[in-house]
Amino acid sequence: MSEATAKRHMGLRASRAVSNTFIHVLLIVISIIWLIPFVCIVLQSFRVENTGPVGYIIPHQWGTDNYTRLFQTDFPRWYTNTFIAALVTAVLQTVIVLCMSYTLSRFRFKMRQPLMRFMLILGMFPGMLTMIILYRVLKDLGLTQANAVPGLILVYVASSGMGYYVSKGFFDTIPMSLDEAARVDGATRAKILYKIILPLSKPIVIYTVLTAFMGPWGDYVFARYIAFGTSAGKNVAVGLYDWLNKDQISNSYTMFCAGGVLVALPVTILFLFLQKYYVEGVTGGAVKG
């Protein structure tokens, strides 16, 4: 190796090192900015010397008082409400969405195209517009206030059929010839869905479950409206937000943070384990084979 090539080689390595360092520093800065709020909430939830908002981040005294206090309030009830609503919605919505997508992907029936277009247009109206009417309907059914959970599940699940786009797109990528082969072997349509399509679309199933779970888990607007004036019907978002009222905040701020941590926990765990599938699911539907 001549001296000149060695020099060039060194230069290249050096410049790569510089750009790598720069990119890493940038990424570290961005992730610090992104993580600060989360770190703050976690740290504040362990602060015991004062229960209100303060001007520093690291607690002077550490302890789990906030978590103990949290369980003496209605928080467990709110948590259960949210969990039930999210779980039931996740199951029902997944079943509906998958059936819908399968039907629209595999069946050819009259009005199929108009129906899809109609749902597309319907989906363009913001759901919030229907809030007041829905409230009246649910109230007449006795599903508001303390009975808000079944009412909310009804609302969340009711329109889920329209969210078929991603999974239909994914099903479209599975070759029709597989279905045909199964049909020749005597499988019913339902059997094809269970035995062939679903095992092949694990990512999209998981994606559907996750999105269905996340909706109710973080819902505030509908939940607030339907559970108004009762503690028993609140979900975590509504219950926790109420602790930030002027007359409550100095007593409940750290408890609010502790609640926030507990709310984030199951979702974080879920995402950690299902992350691989989730990414596949999000991008999977976009590729048409």
Partner: protein
């Protein structure tokens, strides 16, 4: 046998009718929902239990108590009055909205008399719309005063805003007093110089007139004082004592923060009335709003239930219940007997509130938009470069207040500079919509003013619409400056506007 049976049945029926008629007809078990602040839930539970045990009429309440923040009660209630709490507590600023939404049941004559006799006049005014009492005063502690850190602020400086600011700046500590973020606190400066913003509501809770003097020479003095504070780099627009944790030495807040402040500062905590500020060699003591919490009863379909709910409301706001609330939660009572008690007088937070009381203004009914309109003054004052800028801040405010009523073309704009526009110490502006005002016209060289219907500033509609009392005034047309009428003699006049005609009568 049959006859005997019939006789027996009739006897039983007659007996039962007699029994129910003779026993108190209110007896029974009632399922009700009560909304109170979260920290008052357990106390309210106990108080309702006490009521069940102590009343002699056989009234038993089976109460579901829900924690609903007092500052949120109106919003929650208006969502669906039908499904709202039967009895609910709320901060007084939501009163007008609740009356308009028919969410409050009127008090009966007897109950009203008892409430008026037992409670602080300011709190009664807060529960009154027109001539009707709609709610029960619950507390009288919704006012603010000053908390300070004794280790930073010397005792002798607490009476002067200028010294306090200097102390904070010298020690690199913050002076926390909400200005840009809250009209409730900002009004403090205006009350100091004697400005007022008096709003009137009719029996249905609608706003019919306002007498607002923020845009006046006195108002200009107020904003000069305010500028001293908001211009300081150590001013913080916050009303939370938690600022003591983040480097504040002074926090203006109320009794609700006492425990939290004590926890942070311990023995270094000082609580006292607000300071004075100086403009052109004259001292002005900062004023404050003096507000309260109220307890309301929702209108009921069932008259008997309504009656028992009012009984409970009276109990929950009575002398004993208010004292219990003071003992358990340190809520300042509105009941005059409780207010005079030694225990209440000895509470440091309430003592500071009482010290501030002579400078405070009872918070009556205030238009919901006022809070947002007035809040802007502080930002405008901070940005103002000179006196003209300060005046501009007041003018902006004035225009927005006027537009609240101008939007309604049936309103009457009544601008009086009854002793002349140019030496207007006493410029009064009334926006009248269906109602009347009393004008004091002092003896002076020039007793003129202007009456116009909004949007018709240049026309002479004012005089033309006077149907009765034309002889008391002289029509100036549009010729004489800004005035279109002039009173012929000094005195008190009542001006009434019914949407079409103006009546002027000498009192």
């Amino acid at each position: 046998m049959k006859k005997f049976l019939a006789l027996l049945l009739t006897a039983v029926m007659a007996l039962s009718v007699c029994l129910t008629a003779s026993a108190e007809s209110l007896a029974g078990t009632y399922d009700i929902t009560v909304w109170v602040a979260e920290n008052a839930v357990s106390l309210t539970e106990k108080q309702i239990k006490d009521f069940n045990e102590s009343n002699t009429d056989g009234i038993v309440f089976n109460a579901t108590i829900e924690a609903v923040s007092e500052s949120e009660a109106a919003t929650q209630m208006i969502t669906d009055v039908e499904a709202g709490g039967d009895i609910f507590c709320f901060a007084q600023d939501q009163f007008a909205r609740l009356v308009q939404a028919n969410a409050l049941a009127k008090l009966g004559t007897k109950a009203a008399e008892a409430v008026i006799a037992a409670n602080d006049a300011g709190t009664v005014a807060a529960a009154t719309s027109g001539d009707t009492l709609y709610a029960y005063p619950l507390t009288a502690d919704n006012g603010y005063f000053m908390y300070y850190d004794k280790s930073v602020i010397p005792e002798e400086d607490v009476d002067s805003l200028e010294k306090l600011i200097a102390d904070c700046e010298a020690n690199q500590k913050y002076f926390a007093f909400e200005q840009q973020t809250s009209a409730w606190y900002l009004a403090s400066f205006f009350f100091a110089t004697g400005c007022k913003s008096d709003w009137k509501t009719d029996d249905e809770g609608n706003f019919i007139s306002v007498n607002d003097t923020f845009d006046s020479p006195a108002g200009l003095i107020a904003v000069k004082g305010m500028k001293k504070l908001v211009d300081s780099p150590f001013h913080l627009s916050s009303g939370s004592v938690n600022e003591f944790n983040s480097g504040a030495a002074v926090v203006v807040s109320g009794t609700w923060d006492y425990t939290a402040a004590k926890e942070i500062l311990g023995d270094n905590l000082g609580a006292t009335d607000l300071p004075s500020f100086e403009v052109d060699g004259k001292e002005y003591h900062l004023g404050s709003f003096n507000g309260c919490k109220l307890l309301g009863v929702k209108p009921q379909v069932d008259a008997v239930k309504a009656a028992v709910l009012h009984r409970l409301a009276q109990y929950l706001t009575g002398e004993k219940a208010q004292m219990e609330r003071f003992e358990a939660l340190a809520w300042g009572p509105s009941n005059v007997v409780d207010q005079a008690s030694e225990a209440v007088q000895a509470n440091p937070g309430l003592a500071a509130l009482i010290a501030q009381a002579p400078y405070s203004v009872p918070q009556g009914q205030i238009h919901g938009s006022w809070w947002d309109i007035a809040k802007v003054i502080a930002e405008d004052v901070k940005n103002a470069k000179d006196e003209a800028g300060l005046q501009q801040a007041l003018d902006n405010y004035y225009d927005k207040i006027a537009s609240l009523f101008k939007l309604d073309t049936s309103a009457l704009l009544f601008v009086g500079a009854w002793n002349g526009w140019n030496n207007a110490d006493d410029t009064d502006t009334y926006y009248l919509k269906d109602g009347s005002v009393t004008l004091e016209v002092p003896q002076s060289d020039y007793m003129g003013g202007r009456i116009v219907t909004p949007g018709s500033w240049d026309s002479d509609k004012g005089f033309l619409q006077v149907t009765t009392g034309k002889e008391l005034i002289q029509d100036l047309g549009d010729d004489v400056g800004d005035n279109n009428i002039v009173f012929l003699a000094p005195g008190n006049y009542t001006v009434t506007w019914d949407g079409a005609a103006i009546t002027i009568a000498a009192n």
